[in-house]
Structure formats: C-alpha cells, structure tokens
Amino acid sequence: MMKLLDPILNLLMPPAPRFKGVMGIFYYVDDAADAVRALRQAGHRNLRVFSPIPHHEIEQALEQGPSIVRWVTFVGGVTGFTAGLSLCIYTCVSYPLVVGGKELTSLPPFMIISYESMILLAGLTNLLGMLALTRLPEVRQAAPYDPRFSEDRVGIWVPCDGEERTRVQKLMGGQSAEEVLVHE
C-alpha cells in the first residue's frame, strides 16, 4: 500500500538533492555565533544558520538588517484602504439611497469599511510578503537539514567544494562544533 503512495509522497516531500558543503552542528549558542563571525571573516557570506528559535547573537554575527516585509504590508494597507473607500463611494453613487436629503458620500461611516479593508489587505499581503521573503513553501530542500534543529541544536551550513571544504571543516571544528558533517 505504502509503495503505491510513494509517487504522491515524493511529490509532497521530494527526497533531498545532493549537496556539496559542510554542516556544523552546535549545542552552545555563543559557539555558533563565534563560528558565524569566523566564517564571515574568512569570506563565507553564503551561510545558512538553522535554529529552533531566533537568537539575537547569531543575528548580530550575521549582520542582518530589519525585514523588508513591512513595506509590502504598507503597500497592502494603503491599497486596502483605497479599495474600501472607493467601493463605498462607488456603491452609494451607483445605487443612491437618499435618506433625509443628506449627502450620498458620507465619509464617517465609510471609514469603518475602509479601515476593515485596509487590515484585510494588509494582513493578506503581510502573509504573501513573508512567504515570498522566507522562500516558502520550500517543498524541495534547499540545504541539508537535521531534525535536531527544531529541538535544541544550531546548525551552520556552508556550501563549498574542494580545498575550501577542508578549510571550513577545520574552522568549524576549531569553533567547538559538536559535530561536523561533510557533504560531498
């Protein structure tokens, strides 16, 4: 039965491709942050650090700036507000319900629908922006992964080949990596 399902399962969770590089696994967070600094000093900018929770020390070692997802959300919010307000004005003008001879386009009640539309679209674009920037969904693995990364270990993946690989391997070992896995 399982064999019959294998093609579908492979489609949902494709087997990992062959990677070339070094994966260092760390228990201590400060060791991992030191290793990141050392690797960056050695010219390795293309690092991928896996951890069960975000660590400020590692973020600082990587010199990560703030996420740009806020701008995507801002655009979504402005679009939502404009769309909501336009919808209210258009519907009132297109299907006029005159009450007590008052203005058709009465802004105070329109603010509520405009506001809700702003939050709705900002929420949706926030989600889409986050998915795009985090490169999710990641159906096929982009780097080797270890289940311990969702428990208590920090992993540093350095894609490299040839002599560079040996250098990275030594560097990771020198930074007290608990385990250094070489992918060839």
């Binding site: 399902l5 579908i8 399962l9 949902l12 969770m13 201590y28 967070v29 400060d30 991928r48 650090v49 896996f50 951890s51 069960p52 975000p54 660590h55 973020e59 990587l62 990560q64 996420s67 740009i68 997802v69 806020r70 959300t73 909501g84 919808l87 519907t91 009132c92 299907y95 319900l97 009450v99 009640p109 329109f110 509520i112 629908i113 506001y115 809700e116 939050i119 709705l120 900002a122 929420g123 949706l124 926030n126 989600l127 922006g129 986050m130 998915l131 920037l133 985090t134 999710l136 990641e138 159906v139 096929r140 780097a143 992964y145 289940p147 990364f149 969702s150 428990e151 208590d152 007290s176």
Partner: protein, 451 residues
C-alpha cells in the same frame, strides 16, 4: 537583605528545550478512550442541533419562539457571545505580544484556537438567522444585473466586513504561529504519510536565519494589525445596537463596554479550557499556577470594567432626560426578565469580586466554577440587552413576552458542541502550546557564563 542566588521565574517552565518538544508533542498522539467518549457525545449533541437547524430552515422561523418585535433574541445573543469569546484569543496573542507580556507565551495558542473556532461558531448565527441561508452571498457587495449594492452606511454591513476580516486575519495569525511548531512535529513523525502532510502544512519550514528574520518581521505586523482589529470588531458589533434609537441601545458607552465584556468572557473560557488541558495532559509545569493567576487577574480587571459599565448605564438612565431609557432600565431590573438581569449582574459583577483574594485566584476548582458562572452571566448579558429592549420598545402596543423555544435551546447547546468539535480535534492534531515561543523563555545553552 542579601540575595545569594538568582530566583527562578515561576512563569518559566523548569525543563530543557528538548524536553519541551517531548512534552508538548506528546499531546499529539493516538486519542484515548476518554477523548473518544467526549468527542462522540459532542457529535451526538451537534446532530440534535443540526436537526433543529434543518427544521428552522425548511419549516421557517415559526418553530422558534420569535415574536414581533423580538426577532433577534437567541440567534444574535449567540452571535455576540461567540464573537466576544473569540476576542480574548487576539487579546492574548496580539495585544499582550505588543506589550511584551511574557506570560502569554504559554497560553496564547489555546486562546488563538479559541478565537478561530469562536468566530466560525459566531458567523453561523447571522447566516442561519437570515432565514434563507442560500442567499447569504447577498450580504457581500458584488456586481449584479439589477445594479443593486449593499448599503455601506448600515452597521449591519460594517459587521459583514468586520467579522469576515476578523475571521481571515485571526486564521492567518493562528496558522502562521503554527508553522515552526508543525515543523517540529514533522521532524518527530514516524509515519511517512503524516510526515509528508506535516511537511506541506509547515510549508517546508527549516528554521533558517532568513526565515526567522522575515517571520518575526511579519508576526509583529500581524500583532500590530490584529490589535486595533480586535477593538474595532467588537465595537462594530456593539454599533449594530448603538446605531439604533431604541432605549437601552442608543449609547456611546456600547463600544468600550462590549470590548471589555468580550475580553472578560473570552479569558474566562480560556481558563476553563486550560484547566482541563493542563490536568488531562499533565502539563502543569508548562502552564503554571502563575499563568492561571495572571489570567484570573485579567478576569477580575475586565469584570470591574463591565460592572462599571452596568452602573454607568443605570446612572445615565436616571440622570438623563430620556424617559423611555429610564423606564427600560427599571424594567430590566424589576420587570418580566428580572431573573436574567440578576443572573447577569451576580455572575459578572458580584461573584468575580472573590478574585481579589489570592488563595481563591490560585484555587483551580474554584476558578473553574467561577469562570463557568462568568460565561453564563455573559450569555445572559447579551440576552438582557437584546430581548428586554426589543420586548419593551416605545409603544406599549408592541410590548411582548418572548419565550425561548426548544429549537433555540438546541441552537445554544449546539453552538457549544460545534465549538468543542473543532477544539477537540485541534488538541489531538496540532501542538496546543507554542513550542517556539515557550522555548524563547527557557535558558539558552551558553559555554560562556553558563546557561
């Protein structure tokens, strides 16, 4: 006084990071006999309620106790009650997130799940109440050949936008929060099919540095957007009433009064759910007594806000010039529905005063029973607001005595069965506590300066 050792924060579980994964994910296992017994009982109750809904739809609203002008009665009472319940989840997850209130980490997932299932329950009632639910799409503005549009100046239309936005944003917020935890669940899964499904549900999350960076960037914005949303949605729900000129409804007090009431009832239900879960799954070390006590303090605080609103309403009716308002409030406390009013007042204002005492806040049996009373009281609050005003409007010719029918009782009980059906499935399928967020409170392993 000299301090010799650092005291452990009682809100932080005394376990390792790996142990946290073990404990929380142990909940997601094959269900036991008790779970099945409760689930089947729940489905049976739901089946009875569905028969009642079928009757309502095919035979019409005549089978209910509705009589003109009391046409909102139980349906809208249930709607407001469940939207209120839903609000607590966003308060705990978003508002307390922005305030960096750390005790939320252990309890917010349960509260958020309650939000999503609460809105799903609430949204059913206006949908059924239209009488012809197959035409519910008329509530939304869409181009049609007759050139008809919905009225954006109507509070009922505001509600359509508010509730749907709330459902969408709170569902996204809930699901986004689950991503790292589903990935942890995936890493433990042995069965290939379950692993593949969880891989898909976690979007292939790996916890890479760039993922955390944008994830928390986005999470902060979800919280920042959900915070004003939670206040706006229940304000809009209150304006369903406050925009009308009826005595007892037409008040600017309604928005803050409803929001406080919503948080009050929601936190009470969270306490009930958490007491059950932490006991059943032996998770007392994750949801500690400190968490429960802080939630109890929230109940006490919101109870005093609700009590203040009740008294303000009476004061304004007495002090103000509106004779109809004065008569209505006198009727509420002493008229045909006096019992509902006094259930409301005692459950929401008098009984919670016991929470001023620390031993009672930390007594879980007492807290559980008190929170049940709070929810009974909050249901009656909405009943009193809706039914007394409609049954006693301006003209004595329209005064009626509304009586609830068996069909409506089925709807009330069924709404709880519907809510608990989702909740029971949730605690068996997904991590009911946020592993990633609780882990952030645990000591991080460091070589220098220890943990």
């Amino acid at each position: 006084m000299s301090v010799t050792a650092l005291e452990r924060n009682p809100e932080v579980p005394d376990i390792s990071q790996k142990q946290l994964n073990d404990d929380v994910l142990s909940m997601v296992s094959r269900p036991g006999k008790i779970w099945w017994a409760v689930f089947i009982l729940d489905l049976l109750i739901l089946a009875v309620a569905l028969i009642a809904v079928r009757n309502l739809i095919f035979r019409g609203w005549g089978v209910s106790g509705f009589m003109r002008p009391v046409m909102w009665a139980v349906d809208i009472t249930n709607f407001v009650f469940w939207v209120g319940i839903a609000h607590c989840g966003t308060l705990v997850s978003a508002v307390l997130f922005l305030f960096r209130s750390h005790f939320r980490r252990a309890v917010y997932r349960v509260a958020e799940a309650m939000t999503v299932f609460g809105v799903l329950t609430a949204a059913m009632f206006p949908a059924i109440h239209t009488g012809r639910p197959w035409f519910d799409y008329w509530l939304f503005p869409y181009p049609n050949q007759r050139g008809l549009w919905t009225n954006p100046r109507s509070p009922l239309e505001w509600d359509v936008f508010a509730v749907n936005t709330y459902l969408t944003v709170s569902s996204i917020f809930f699901l986004v929060g689950l991503i790292p935890d589903i990935a942890a669940q995936r890493d433990r899964a042995k069965n290939k099919i379950i692993k593949a499904v969880l891989h898909l549900a976690s979007f292939g999350w790996s916890g890479a540095n760039y993922q955390w960076k944008h994830y928390y960037g986005a999470y902060l914005f979800f919280a920042a957007m959900a915070t004003p949303l939670v206040f706006s949605v229940h304000s809009v729900v209150s304006w369903d009433f406050a925009m009308a000129l009826n005595p007892g409804w037409h008040s600017t007090l309604f928005a803050p009064y409803f929001v406080a009431g919503a948080i009050f009832s929601g936190v009470a239900l969270v306490i009930n759910l958490l007491i059950g879960i932490r006991k059943a799954y032996k998770l007392e070390h994750i949801v500690t007594m400190e968490h429960m006590e802080k939630l109890a303090k929230l109940v006490l605080m919101t109870s005093t806000m609700v009590g203040y609103s009740y008294l303000t309403e009476f004061f304004m009716a007495w002090y103000g010039p509106n004779k109809y308002e004065r008569d209505l409030f006198w009727f509420r406390a002493t008229g045909h529905y006096w019992w509902a009013f006094w259930i409301m007042f005692s459950c929401n204002v008098v009984f919670p005063l016991t929470l001023w005492f620390k031993p009672l806040r930390r007594n879980l049996v007492f807290l559980f029973i008190l929170c049940l009373f709070v929810n009974v009281g909050m249901w009656f609050e909405r009943f009193v607001i809706i039914v007394t005003t409609l049954a006693r409007s301006f003209s004595p010719a329209t005064w009626v005595h509304y009586k609830m029918s068996f069909t409506e009782v089925c709807l009330i009980v069924g709404s709880f069965a519907w809510f608990f059906m989702f909740f029971l499935i949730f605690i068996r399928v997904l991590p009911a506590f946020s592993i990633a967020e609780i882990k952030e409170t645990l000591p991080v392993p460091r070589r220098r300066n220890g943990s």
